[in-house]
């Protein structure tokens, strides 16, 4: 009986913990993903979301992308420019700055080392 209660409680904890953890990981790597997509060429917001969807399984809450882009811009990692369109609704294109390219390189290398460490742990299991 106690064992059953423990298992149910533990399962309920996991149900809460795992989605939270996943959301934190996604949040943490979103800037890396955005910079990585932008390293391939300039993009406007909607295009950026589509590219992220195409290459990753991250289901991005689109509203969170714009605050992130503004933060990256304030940190001087990306720049933006408005480009007029024939429709009359301009697009805001984002591209990487020199600082953004350097930061992306550093972030990729950190991510790779982190990934290797976890892989090593998995191999030892």
């Amino acid at each position: 009986m106690y064992c059953y209660v423990f298992c149910v409680t533990f399962a309920a904890m996991n149900e809460e913990f795992i989605p939270k953890w996943k959301s934190q990981v996604k949040k943490g790597i979103l800037s890396l993903v955005v910079l990585r997509v932008l390293s391939k060429g300039e993009c406007y917001g909607y295009e950026l979301i589509e590219e992220i969807r195409k290459y990753t399984m991250i289901d991005i809450a689109e509203g969170t992308l714009y605050p992130l882009l503004i933060r990256l811009k304030e940190d001087n990692l990306v720049t933006s420019k408005w480009v007029e369109q024939t429709s009359g609704i301009p697009r805001k294109y984002y591209c990487l700055t020199e600082e953004g390219i350097a930061s992306l390189k550093e972030m990729k290398s950190y991510w790779d080392s982190l990934n290797n460490s976890i892989q090593k742990m998995n191999d030892n299991e």
Binding site: G45, G63, P67, G88, P90
Partner: protein, 191 residues
């Protein structure tokens, strides 16, 4: 900014309502920041509707808006951040007050800044107290020893030494504190 127009009256109303909410939630920002954000969201909605192959534009718009989320939620951290930047750049008290109010839930540190500005406000209250009740407000000494500073209820046997000089002194202290606290807030914001 060119607003989008939809054939269906219902789609148009959904769009207009959403943009009104965006405008309402960005109204605290500077005109340039506000315009930039509205244009960007408008552009996002436009791209989403023209790139969708679905002919049901009501459904397409609802999908786009659902994925963006309620403006009250996704704009909140963004507006708070932009307002803080505006406040520490302009040094305007009204912007500082709004920025602190918006950022109170973004960390304990903003509550500390709120308390510091409240402390600063006490010097301004002191000026008011001196005008309303001059004999009970000031720097008091009793037999050559410090007896109290500020508003003192019982002044029997105490000598007030500053007189009306407390007004310019309080103003100067409040000003210096305001500049110092705002500079620290600026350092914290741009860290």
């Amino acid at each position: 900014m060119n607003r989008l127009s939809f054939e269906s009256n219902i789609t148009q109303r959904i769009y207009d309502d959403y943009m009104r909410r965006v405008e309402k939630n960005t109204s605290l920002l500077s005109a340039a920041d506000c315009n930039e954000l509205i244009m960007e969201i408008n552009s996002h909605i436009h791209e989403g509707t023209i790139q969708s192959k679905d002919m049901n534009k009501d459904g397409v718009l609802l999908d786009i808006l659902e994925r963006l989320g309620p403006p009250e939620e996704f704009l909140k951290p963004l507006v708070a951040r932009k307002k803080l930047n505006q406040a520490v750049t302009t040094f305007k008290p009204s912007h500082i007050f709004q920025a602190l109010r918006l950022n109170l839930t973004n960390g304990f540190i903003y509550s500390i800044f709120g308390l510091l500005y409240l402390f600063l406000g006490s010097f301004l209250l002191l000026i008011l107290a001196k005008i309303i009740s001059p004999s009970h407000t000031g720097l008091f000494y009793t037999n050559g020893e410090f007896g109290g500073f500020g508003f003192v209820r019982e002044t029997t046997g105490q000598v007030e030494v500053l007189g009306y000089w407390i007004i310019p002194i309080s103003m100067a202290v409040a000003f210096i504190l305001y500049v110092c606290i705002t500079l620290i807030l600026r350092l914290k914001t741009h860290k």
